[in-house]
């Protein structure tokens, strides 16, 4: 199962659910499609720009690695992966 962990500012898009488990294997883009099917377009709009790119206010980590340093939305997601969604807030 893929485990998706959402920080509370992002979990507003999943009705407050902060941990999701999805039986899935595919790319990060496909994973977001699956979650969007369950939680609706509000999830998609929270994560992705209108043109389908990752929003700059959201950081996505696949097994602790920033997806931008992997293959972005094309990053393959292993069946037992943990995907963290955090607001892009960093630095002093």
């Amino acid at each position: 199962m893929v485990r998706i962990v959402l920080a509370s500012p992002i979990a507003t898009a999943t009705g407050g659910e902060r941990e999701l488990e999805v039986d899935f294997q595919g790319t990060l883009r496909d994973l977001f499609d699956v979650v969007t099917t369950k939680y609706g377009r509000q999830f998609q709009q929270r994560i992705l720009e209108a043109d389908g790119a990752l929003r700059r206010f959201v950081n996505v980590y696949v097994n602790g690695e920033d997806a931008r340093f992997l293959a972005g939305l094309d990053t393959p997601i292993p069946r037992d992966a943990t995907v963290d969604l955090l607001p892009a807030i960093s630095g002093g």
Binding site: A7, Y61, I89, S90, G92
Partner: protein
């Protein structure tokens, strides 16, 4: 604020000032934003406070939390310089040493703060924290006789300091206390970690994240700057520029500050001096512009950057002959 007349001569600039934050209570500008954020944490009776830090913030939060009697947790890269790991522990903060970069520490810190309901000053208390950074602009204005300079050169880590300067000017202007035209905001970042500078240079104006920062300016080693996009906008809107000196130029900047102005800065301060020097050489800063350099942290926190530049001194006997020999002969006249 110090008038830097020797640096003016060295850089052929009419007027240079140093906004010297090396002498704040915990020896960096971070005491400013932390004061506001911790006040908010007290107002809300948060059970604990903390931060993700490249060092200076860890000390500032730990000290303020000690005074406010709030438990404090600071997340830092374990590879930080010893002095930067010592200070927060001395103030009673719990240092959580992360095996990774600042960005790794930041990610896990956010998750911990989110899960436990703690107030992390640069994460979930960030809007209040940013208000404290504005005081650098307000004080600059006040200390220049209620005038703003033509150019402010600021180090860039997350970019929040620079955007706070822009906000500070906007508020002064709205109050009728400053002209509408802002100072040109110039951001300086080490070449080994320059996501904002590279974004400034790009057409889309988006920061270019750096996976593994490689610079002696540890306090600026933020590969994924949270306010990078906004900083680029502020730089562009104020007709400033962004610059990325090398580590060698940064160290030379620190030396210049020390030997010309008697100010001992950590590398972040050398970064702004290096940018002034480079920008005077290629004309990005005009000779007649009034320039303020932000020097944001004390050099005593980063002695390791000097490596073997100052080797240990061999003792000499307490005799005139020995001193003469040591000094290479007796001075005449």
């Amino acid at each position: 604020m110090r008038r830097a007349r020797n640096l003016e001569r060295r850089t052929d600039t009419r007027e240079v000032w140093i906004k010297d934050d090396t002498v704040n209570p915990t020896l960096s500008f971070k005491d400013r934003p932390v004061a506001v954020a911790i006040a908010k944490a007290r107002e809300w009776s948060l059970p604990a406070v903390g931060c993700a830090s490249t060092g200076n913030l860890a000390a500032a939060v730990s000290a303020a939390a000690a005074k406010a009697r709030i438990p404090c947790y600071v997340f830092v890269p374990a590879s930080l310089e010893p002095a930067k790991l010592l200070l927060p522990r001395l103030y009673g903060g719990i240092v959580v040493p992360i095996d990774g970069t600042y960005d790794d520490a930041n990610r896990v810190a956010f998750q911990v703060a989110d899960q436990r309901g703690w107030g992390f000053v640069n994460l979930n208390l960030r809007p209040y924290y940013a208000e404290g950074s504005k005081t650098l602009l307000f004080e600059t204005w006040e200390q220049l006789g209620f005038e703003l300079p033509d150019v402010i050169v600021s180090p860039l880590g997350s970019g929040l300091l620079l955007t706070s300067l822009e906000k500070g000017h906007r508020e002064l202007s709205e109050l009728g206390e400053a002209p509408e035209r802002p100072p040109r905001l110039v951001g300086s970042q080490p070449a080994g970690c320059a996501p904002i500078v590279r974004g400034f240079e790009s057409a889309d104006g988006r920061p270019r994240p750096v996976r593994k920062p490689d610079t002696i300016a540890e306090s600026l080693a933020i590969g994924d700057p949270g306010s990078g996009f906004e900083a680029i906008q502020s730089i562009r809107e104020t007709h400033g520029f962004a610059d990325a000196p090398t580590d060698a130029e940064i160290l030379e900047g620190v030396r210049l500050l020390a030997r010309e102005e008697g100010v001992f800065s950590e590398p972040a301060g050398g970064t702004t001096v290096a940018t002034l020097k480079r920008a005077r050489e290629d004309g990005r800063i005009d000779r007649d512009e009034r320039v303020v350099l932000l020097v944001t942290g004390n050099g005593l926190k980063t002695p390791a950057v000097w490596g073997n530049a100052f080797p240990p001194l061999a003792p000499i006997p307490p005799t005139l002959a020995a001193v003469d020999a040591f000094l290479g002969g007796r001075a005449r006249g």
